[in-house]
């Protein structure tokens, strides 16, 4: 550390080079911090649980043909019966949507009749029957499941509310923060719409969407005991452990055997939950991977730049190094000279870089849907870049340390 003065004097002679390296470190720090932060955000998003037994669940999207939406009730009933009897199937039910599907119903919930204005909570609606909980593999933490005679058959446009509902814990806590939601009532509309009683609470069930707009009600879901008649039906099927692959083949075949008045085609018609999850988060995963790749390449280029520039400086100063060695400097002194020099440039770079990183993040907050950068990422980035600099400079510095004292006596 005693060498700071001579180092500064030496750097003054290489102003442009020093400045460029510092700038490169600063820019790399700014980009890497923000990229790491974006990766972390996306990974958080991707790893949100749905609350389901995802390893064994399969979804089939079915459209009815040559039959009116109003008349599909008996067909759906027959389908569900047939599916439950298919070998390898643990349970199955028909519904309007499921977690991560991408499209579904959302509505406001209130503790009193209310038509307009801000509601107490936002939730998604899943229309299900008494087999839903067993099929999801969702955990009922309070109350009871629906009974078969509570399940009604209805047209989507006639449904306003049902006497019983099961809600997720997140929604229950939002409506009744004291934790006494079970048995209480909630309202899905104005005075003319009858209230619903909360008969059960499940630990978790995600909404059908994964965009940022649904982030603030991601786990607010409500199950209503309704068999919808519609020209579009979704079957959720839970296979017995280890039999998912067989059910993927047998379930659509079973449905087609039951009735041919349907279309089950397109790449999203039959999907295991692995595929559902992959489809839902493909953009987030792509972005995270891209950010990761860019980070690695940036760090590699910066490291290579430091190696290259330091090598030049070492080559340029061979004579001076020789003189210092002849005057009694140890190899260690030479090594530490270059390490200190790099550390000084690095520190200057990261100081500017921290400012740049924060500025870049603030700009992104204003332009994109982004959160504020947490200090942790900046600290990690700073440490990483300083270490990277030291590692990069090590090889040229060792070469410098090997310069023999006799170099001082040679001209050119």
């Amino acid at each position: 550390m005693l060498q700071i003065k001579p180092i500064l004097a030496a750097l003054k002679r290489h102003k442009a080079g020093t400045l460029l390296i510092a700038m490169q470190i600063a820019l790399t720090l700014a980009i890497v911090c923000n990229a790491l932060f974006i990766i972390q955000q996306r990974v958080d998003r991707i790893s949100r649980p749905t609350g389901m037994d995802e390893n064994n669940v399969l979804a089939i999207q079915n459209r009815w043909v040559s039959v009116d939406g109003k008349d599909t009730a008996p067909l759906i009933k027959a389908d569900v019966q047939a599916l439950r009897q298919t070998s390898g199937v643990q349970d199955a039910f028909a519904t309007n949507s499921f977690p991560l599907r991408g499209g579904g119903w959302s509505t406001g919930v209130n503790l009193a009749p209310k038509n307009e204005g801000k509601s107490a909570a936002q939730t998604t609606l899943y229309f299900v029957d008494e087999h839903a909980l067993a099929t999801y593999g969702a955990q009922l933490i309070a109350g009871r499941n629906f009974t078969a005679d509570e399940v009604i058959t209805a047209d989507p446009k006639d449904i306003k509310s049902t006497p019983q509902v099961i809600i997720t814990k997140a929604l229950a806590d939002k409506l009744y923060p004291k934790g006494d939601a079970l048995g209480k009532q909630l309202y899905l509309g104005g005075k003319d719409i009858p209230p619903s009683t909360i008969i059960g609470i499940v630990a978790r069930l995600q909404v059908p969407w994964n965009g940022t707009w649904s982030d603030n009600f991601n786990d607010n879901a409500m199950l209503l005991p309704v068999q919808l008649t519609s020209n579009y039906t979704i079957y959720l099927i839970r296979a017995k452990p280890g039999q998912l692959a067989d059910v993927v083949k047998s379930a659509p075949a079973t449905l087609l055997k039951t009735s041919r008045m349907r279309v089950i085609s397109g790449e999203r018609a039959v999907r295991t939950y692995d595929q559902v999850r992959g489809d839902a988060y493909k953009n987030d995963r792509g972005m995270a991977i891209l950010m990761g790749v860019i980070c690695v390449i940036l760090l590699a280029i910066t490291a290579a730049g430091i190696v290259g520039l330091t090598s030049f400086w070492v080559g340029q100063r061979r004579k001076q190094i020789g003189v210092r060695r002849a005057l009694g400097a140890t190899k260690r002194d030479i090594l530490s000279y270059f390490l200190t020099e790099n550390l000084m440039i690095g520190v200057a770079g990261v100081v500017i870089g921290v400012g740049l990183a924060i500025g870049m993040n603030l700009w992104m907050v204003s332009q994109f849907e982004m959160a504020r950068l947490s200090v942790l990422y900046v600290v990690v980035g700073v440490v990483a870049l300083l270490l990277l600099g030291q590692a990069a400079v090590l090889a040229p510095a060792m070469r410098a340390a090997k310069v023999p004292p006799v170099e001082a006596t040679r001209s050119v």
Binding site: L27, T28, R63, G117, V263, S265, I297, I301, G315
Partner: protein, 435 residues
């Protein structure tokens, strides 16, 4: 002199191959990343109908009640059936079309082809002429068909191949939701990007395969896709009462003779709103918008924010790569101060030295640019393998190819300029002395 300098440059670059490779790779990666993301951005923010985009307008009205009214807010993104029909019938523009999207079951005549669903567009007659949709066979329907709820359909080339083996299928029958429709026209390949006339069904979605008159679709209540926003007593869910519902769910486009007619049409919309307010249908103060295609796409923020973020990131990446190359090149040139000093002493002017160094920098830049172009092609190929619906559009067009080239040359010269300028300042006497 140029060839001599070129030879000098190549010799100097060969002397330190690792370093040369590092500089070339850094520039190539920067340019490759930049061009890939900028090409995607360029494709996604392109003009879907360049010949007319300045004359096509998307009128918006505010028919909602006073609940939740806040001054200065945007009117709804779509129209109600009543307003759509009123504006359509008013015929104040050169062409106008009222439309919505859906999906219909197609039941082929051949026994061996299972029924399937096709995306459909329910629209009025002007649609095809207004959007310059190219016909392979036949043409669209006319206003009389709209009025008589005719069972006629226009299908795309792709569907025509599937159903009729690509033959001229005019007059043939296609069964949609158990109803026979007569094919009146077959569209040639047509995919406006973005899918500007209805963004509810996906910003970059392919165009629909079946087109039928709006009146017919309502008559048969063909299944509808898209967004419906209701207020007040609403109107329920896609039932038979959508015509009277207090919901917006229709898209309405007009083609004006020239962009200069827009103020007049906007005045008409304002008058219409005022009139509806006196009639008691509208309650809010007059709040209309009239945007042309590009303004509408801007307003709807069609370009995914991830794509914009990636472009900025790539530009940052290129800057780091350039800074890196400038640093290395500078060190390299200054290392040769002795050699340059000799040349200066022998009579070369600063200008000549500068030229020599710039050529060396240019060679690095050019190599980096060419490799960058290859990387950009590779990057775009990778993008096309992605499952996003815009993936297949990611191709380098001539404009972007030119831009890549300009970027490559520009950045290499930029990277060479500073080091060359700095190095040609070498004082010959000093250099010679220190030898």
């Amino acid at each position: 002199m140029f060839t001599y300098y070129l030879e000098l440059a190549l010799r100097s670059l060969r002397r330190n191959k690792v370093l040369t490779a590092l500089m070339v790779v850094a520039i190539a990666l920067g340019i490759g990343a930049c061009m890939t993301t900028l090409t995607v951005l360029h494709v996604l923010s392109g003009d879907p109908i360049p010949s007319k985009s300045a004359r096509l307008f998307y009128p918006q009205l505010d028919p909602q009640d006073m609940d939740g009214y806040r001054e200065g807010e945007e009117p709804p993104e779509q129209l109600t059936w009543v307003d759509g029909m009123n504006l359509l019938k008013a015929k104040r523009a050169r062409r106008q079309a009222l439309m919505t999207g859906g999906a219909v079951p197609v039941q082929p005549a051949q026994a061996d082809v299972e029924p399937f669903f096709s995306d459909s567009r329910y629209t009025t007659a002007d649609f095809f002429a207004m959007f310059d949709a190219p016909f392979l066979y036949g043409q669209g329907w006319n206003e009389a068909d709209d009025d008589s709820k005719a069972r006629v359909a226009v299908i795309t080339r792709k569907l025509n191949e599937k159903l009729f083996g690509g033959k001229d299928s005019r007059g043939q029958v296609v069964r949609l939701k158990d109803t026979p429709f007569r094919v009146v026209g077959v569209l040639d390949d047509w995919r406006p990007n973005p899918h500007f006339y209805d963004l509810n069904v996906g910003n970059y979605t392919e165009s629909e395969e079946v087109f039928v008159p709006l009146s017919t679709s309502r008559d048969l209540t063909l299944p509808r896709n898209g967004s419906t926003d209701c207020w007040g007593r609403g109107g329920g869910n896609d039932g038979d009462h959508m015509e009277n519902a207090t919901c917006v769910w229709m898209q309405f486009w007009v083609e004006l003779a020239s962009a200069a007619d827009a103020p007049a049409y906007k005045a008409f919309l304002e008058n219409y709103s005022r009139e509806q307010k006196t009639l008691g249908r509208f309650q809010r103060p007059v709040n209309v918008r009239l945007r042309n295609v590009m303004e509408w796409l801007d307003q709807e923020k069609v370009v995914p924010s991830d794509v914009r973020l990636q472009s900025w990131l790539a530009i940052g990446f290129l800057v780091v790569c350039l800074v890196n190359t400038v640093g290395l090149m500078l060190a390299k040139f200054l290392r040769r101060a002795g050699e340059l000093g000799v040349r200066r002493a022998l009579g070369a002017s600063k200008r000549e030295i500068f030229k020599q160094l710039l050529i060396e920098a240019g060679v690095v830049g050019l190599a980096g640019g060419v490799c960058g172009l290859v990387l950009a092609f590779l990057g775009l190929w990778l993008v096309r393998q992605q499952p996003a619906d815009y993936a297949s559009l990611a191709r380098l067009d001539l404009a972007m190819l030119g831009a890549t080239f300009a970027l490559a040359v520009g950045s290499s010269v930029a990277a060479g300029l500073l080091p060359a300028l700095r190095a040609c300042q070498v004082a010959p006497a000093l250099q010679l002395k220190s030898q």
